[in-house]
Amino acid sequence: MIEKIANAFSPSGHEDEVRQLLVESLNDKFDKIYVDSLGNVIAKKGVSPKLLIECGMDSPGIMVVDNSDGKVWFSAFGGLKAKDLIGQNVIFKNGIFGEVKYDGEISDDAKISDLYIALDTAEISVGNFGILKSEFSEDDDYYLGYGLKSKAGLLTVYQAMLDLDEDFAVLFSAQKRIGGKGIKAFLSANNFECAISVDGFCNKETDGVVIIAKDSTAVASVTLRKALEDIAKAQKIDAKTAVLDENFFSSSFLTAGTGVDWTAIGVSSKAEEDGKEKIFKKELESAIKLLKSAIEKLN
């Protein structure tokens, strides 16, 4: 399942493969599972759970804007930078993939609009979406692949929730990488007392599993954050509290309905020189254990 999730084609707004995997594998494990208008998958245990767990289903990607003369030009979304893309393989829904080229000298000045995919095919059209080809692999200590950071939350949540009997809801959010659209739409019509997001992050200064005290937009609930810190301490889980300059969409949660107590669990990913992202199994296990314990204790 981990490999399937890591390899799934799921650029923002095109999360069908992940959605199908989730609906099929979780159908008999939750009281209710459904897909909403924006493509979010919502799984619920209990009649009206007060705790919401959230993770994203989508990956950053590219959208084709022109295909002519053997060159496929594109825009990027979800935080992909030109330097992340040069020399990498981009794969499309139909399985066609090609290398991203840049005719200038590689530097921080390279712009996405100067990059193209060397592909001479009529099977790629304007409006098609692509993602970095995952090239997933693993060894005893880690998982490795392109775009793995965006799947870290999903990998954590999926594994944490399978054997739990407590009442809680899970929002597998669509379009998270393009502004938390799925989260915002879902929260505009659903109320919870507290929520925990789980997501990957890249941060040179902070390793391992973190409990978010503040993300780039707002502060987390002190009560909920401290509850998670206590759980981590009691369970001897190696988790640090951190202030991260990444957007976990805290303000969308905090101001939803009548207000939601919110924090997030961050799973660090390490960017390798070739652009692949590495997630250590030990850290993923810590995040799973922390989330599992949190769901049990917060009920």
Binding site: S37, V65, D66, S68, W73, S75, F77, I178, A185
Partner: protein
Amino acid sequence: MLRKLTNAFGVSGCETEVRDIIIEEIKDCGADFRIDNMGNLVAFKKAKKENAKTVLLSAHMDEVGFIVTDITEDGYIKFETVGGIDARILISKRVKVNGRCGVIGLKPVHLASKEERKKMPKANELFVDIGAKDRTDAESVASKGDYFGFDSEYIEFGEMIKAKALDDRLGCAIMIEILKKEWDVNLVCTFNVQEEVGLRGAKIAAKGARPDFALVIEGTTCNDLPTVPKNLRVTKSGDGAAISVLDSASKADRDICDMLIKAAEKRNISWQYKASTAGGNDAGAISLLEGGIKTASISVPCRYIHSPVSVMHKSDFESCKELVEGFLEDCGKELTEND
């Protein structure tokens, strides 16, 4: 209709004149309408049949413009822009301030230093000359906080139309035409305020409509210009209505996009994709309402958008209108077939 709408004044927050024109046009078309506290005009027209789907159409009434920030001792108006205007296009443009003509002025080239000639002035470094002899004279025309807009007449030339505020009076004009016809879907048409200053009106206007689908009708960027390479051209004038896939405000619903493409191909209506992820419109606000609403955007390519001389191809406007109508027809038919 488009002439009347584009000549009207309607800078974000001051849409009354535009709204009044629309009300005059739709008051006898069999639609109910209301104006909410923000100033949005929301029209409802019931389907010809029972158990029909509900489709929300959305266009915004407001246009980019200016607000008076100060009046100088010698009677010039200082201003800031309302909505996204490129300061480079402002110099020497005509504006209308509370009905009085004015021009956006700048120190003459003879008196500009070398540095000043190289530098592009910011909006707050410019001023409007309304021909006032001093502050008192100017204050008889305008006060701090007054809004004003470009002064530009609707003109047809060749197959093109030049006007200010094509974005998005063209959408308003299409919705007016649609409201005058009968449909097999329940129609909710929201004529929104304040799109240009943060998609504000749509958040309120579309609330409670709970449509099956929402379609935003817009004017969009068209940069098919000599200096722009093909891979950077967002839309091409004359190539038809532009269907958005992804922009900075929303990801278009794929079902609606598929329906639009099907509707276009069935009726031989010209269409193109909007080939860019930049920009955004009221779809960004509507799609996130009430648990999520399936929303997409269809646009008419407008060259020199957000300027007093935006230019569109007449055939693109027709394609857009026909495609929205085809979409509504198909939405109505689909239910009949599935009944």
